[in-house]
Symmetry: C3
Subunit: 152 residues, 3 copies
């Protein structure tokens, strides 16, 4: 089963890859490592979930935002390397969570991205991970993800 079929089976449709709004690019490959630019939870080109965890949003909403953000990253990966089957390993995920005073459940939020990666890629989706609380994120996004992958 191809990854496109697997995505369909999981009921997931990748968004169009987000376009950087400045003088940077969606991803850069160095050797077999692909460094993906920070992704926000865009849907149809808009942030449908905004604000800070611990004030504006529940953990469940944050989880969903992380899930949507990682789809944007996968859309970039597919557009850069041609097919998700070229992903050899998800190496590292850094998840930034916009956090109001006292919010300390960043890992539960970033699980929205981690769970999807493992569901889709299996062992190759198991990554090193960092979850931290940001003061603010671009465009008032609740979550921003940094991903490094190994590609074949």
């Amino acid at each position: 089963m191809s990854f496109d079929e697997k995505l369909k089976q999981l009921g997931i449709e990748l968004p169009p890859p987000p376009k950087p709004v400045a003088t940077y690019v969606p991803a850069v490959q160095a050797g077999d490592l692909l460094f993906v630019s920070g992704v926000l939870p865009f849907q149809d080109g808009k942030l449908t979930i905004e604000g800070k965890l611990g004030r504006d949003l529940t953990v469940e909403q944050g989880y969903e935002a992380a899930r949507i953000a990682v789809l944007n990253a996968l859309a970039i990966v597919r557009s850069q390397v041609g097919a998700l089957s070229r992903v050899k390993q998800i190496v590292k995920l850094v998840g930034h969570v916009a956090s109001a005073e006292g919010f300390v459940q960043q890992p539960a939020v970033i699980n929205g991205a981690s769970d999807l990666l493992v569901k889709l890629f299996g062992e190759a989706g198991r990554h090193a991970r960092v979850a931290v609380g940001a003061a603010q994120l671009p465009l008032n996004a609740p979550v921003e993800l940094e991903i490094i992958l190994q590609v074949s």
Copy 2:
């Protein structure tokens, strides 16, 4: 002298490697780079130092938290590659410091990790470093560390 002997000489005992509480793994190797997941200052499975620098904790307490956190990272490294003697170079350390309004001594806190790495590994322990102030960290931890190493 082996690194285990050197640790003993320094009066340091590595904790058991922390277990990720979600669908990620403690570390991923790509080529000769080992990317370690974010580590918190766990002792016996608990955070014994909690809160924000500049409000709840002194710089000295933050330094100690960074020292403890890096031991958790080294425990992961040893369990992943078998022995600390396989560390060729500590490449990069990113230190996130939970920071109250106005706290700007993140470097002094992260020195707790950097000093230990250099004491243990000598030249191979000298790393590129980033110290930043987070709004909040998981479980109300004062410090979270991201480490990239080169292994042989």
Copy 3:
């Protein structure tokens, strides 16, 4: 035209490479990747722009701080590898922006660094990028940059 000539043409003079104030080093190379330590917007050894975006500084001042910070990174690169012509690709830039409540224009600030990299290196300057809002940064700096490059 050499990069030193190009810098001159752009009216840019690189500062002396900043000296780490602790037990870390300005940059570490692993394979052909050069990991540069976090840089602040130092000018003549001092921070001439301080404080948080969204409270103390305009976006324009933040943009200028990011431009100055990236010059510090380039000074490190030149001192580490001998000449900027050895830069094969700017791989990744993470920009931390000290952000007051409600400030969400981190990308516009970090453009100060990205624009300069592309102006100087052309295609080789186009990088993957992440812009996040920090609670605080060392020495009350408005911007801190992490850079990974590929060198030849």
